[in-house]
Point group: C2
Chain length 326, copies 2
């Protein structure tokens, strides 16, 4: 466990089996990490129930922000702007300095919208991406998007490549990350219409951290790691693939020693640390999501990725622009 | 091993590492199944090399159809109509009665085109689908499409549902198969634009064998089997998912006892038995594809699925039509 006090705002009402699963996961996270503090965002009676089962000495590690409304799983994500939902309140707590990062197993669309409105987007990011780190035979693979934006366009995939390269360099210390585009074969021309259009766009895309495009990769490359350090796809395909890997490990009798499918993903593209678990998350998944949120804050991952991207954009600007930038 | 002589036309030039991998796979298949006969379709010297390593007693189990051209992996699939390729010749051998089924690890597009032109499509099928049987915690799951048609439309997904239900009933003896649509959550409204449009279309779709639509399913349901017997998706997503499961098993140290990711898929929608291995197939994959082709012929799977669909279409016609049909 990394040292350093960290405060995570936890959305008590996010997830299919909330609040019970979230409460259970929060308790596990508190036991596992003595420097962890939680800000419980949700109904006061749920938070009080959690605090009641803590040892008295641990009770000052938990604070409460009472909120009653949950963002709808299926409604128009923009509709949540009008009400004070748990995810909005969790984001607001980070904005105001009361917490360091957000964890939610609620509707991804609502979480992304709340994060965009609360934290603001990074320059050049239209729609943030969810990024997951998949343990692989060779090291690990950064996979994005796994559900942040569902409709793929070549420009979005090219933006994911830039974000993923920066994330791999910052979080995994990969120098010159190899970036691949997920498709159904490795020869140029393989794939659906979007992949065929995106392949040449990615080949021309300048990337940070000395990253290079290696072309098309396939589903097994995500658990293999031999061909690419970063695998780029749309949020629909990435989400299906990640859950497919999870299902395969369940069928195989459990996750491999080197680590199973990631149970939580980080949001990339907003000026704040947000971690998303899927709606069917179990208590261990929630605990693992809280641990990832704590890790992102302790390692200052989000500001570091943002700074790397700003430096890269400025350098690209100097290379193509005669204007002097401050 | 099921009894009964069966003759498989093998495309010697299909696959990234053809012909070596195909030759090796064909030898393994011959050793494993004493009633298997092969028609080797490709360069005579390659076929002769294979025959030379057989025991003399086995040499009459192998025939040769000399062809030099391979269908391009990336070119326009329609272009192959103009040349006599190995996959076209393999299909032609089945049409003429010289073989019972086709195996190829070559370009899927070229194989589908050759099969459509050689065998003809089933009524109502615009584009055939590749169907894979995935071993699951509960039984097995029929997944389609895994690469036959890459661009998804709601009508195509509805057609896959019908084909998959018939295949599950015929090959796995599933009565009243449960059919799910692959998405990124189970609540209605989850998914990208295509899935949101297809969900109500599938809910209204009449299906054979008493099949019923169970709604949206997720990536892990394919290795789980608890929610659906048939999982419907577009060929791009299905191919990525299948290879993702394969990669996870490699990461887990090998396939589970109950069976790993399928190494071959059957083509559904044409009036002939065709099995496709992916381009990166290894010798065991080719042998497993040949065994699947033999199984399809011995069990008369393709005619049985076709008959079930014809009966279903006729019954649906009687139910909605006042005309008397012969």
């Amino acid at each position: 466990m990394e040292p350093g006090t960290v405060r995570i705002a936890v959305d008590l009402l996010g997830g299919d089996d909330a609040p019970a699963v979230v409460v259970d996961g929060a308790l596990r996270a508190l036991r596992a990490d003595p420097d962890l503090r939680l800000l419980l965002v949700g109904p006061a009676e749920v938070a009080d129930g959690l605090i009641a089962v803590l040892r008295p000495a641990d009770r000052d590690r938990v604070a409460v922000r009472p909120v009653r409304d949950v963002a709808a799983m299926n409604g128009d994500p923009a509709a949540i702007v009008r009400t004070d939902t748990t995810i909005q309140a969790a984001v607001a707590a980070v904005v105001s300095g009361a917490a360091d990062a957000v964890l939610s197993a609620g509707a991804t669309g609502a979480t992304v919208t709340a994060a965009v409105l609360g934290f603001g987007r990074w320059p050049g990011v239209r729609r943030p991406a969810l990024v997951a780190t998949v343990p692989a035979l060779d090291g690990s693979v950064v996979l994005l998007d796994v559900g942040g934006s569902l409709e793929a366009r070549p420009a979005t995939l090219a933006r994911h490549a830039v974000l993923g390269a920066a994330y791999a360099a910052v979080t995994h210390g990969v120098s010159q990350p190899r970036v691949g585009l997920l498709s159904i074969g490795t020869e140029p021309g393989k794939g659906d219409r979007i992949r065929r259009a995106a392949d040449p766009v990615l080949a021309e895309q300048a990337m940070p951290a000395g990253a290079g495009y290696v072309g098309l990769v396939e589903g097994y490359d995500v658990s293999n790691g031999r061909r690419a350090d970063v695998v780029v796809t749309d949020g629909f395909t990435g989400n299906v693939l990640l859950k497919g890997i999870e299902g395969a490990y369940a069928m195989a009798g459990g996750p491999p020693e080197r680590g199973g499918a990631p149970r939580a993903a980080a949001l990339l593209g907003v000026a704040g640390a947000v971690v998303v678990c899927h709606g069917a998350a179990r208590p261990d998944d929630v605990a693992s999501g809280i641990a990832l949120a704590a890790h992102l804050h302790r390692r200052r991952t989000i500001p570091a990725v943002s700074a790397l991207l700003a430096e890269f954009t400025a350098a690209a600007g100097r290379a193509t622009d005669t204007e002097v930038t401050a």
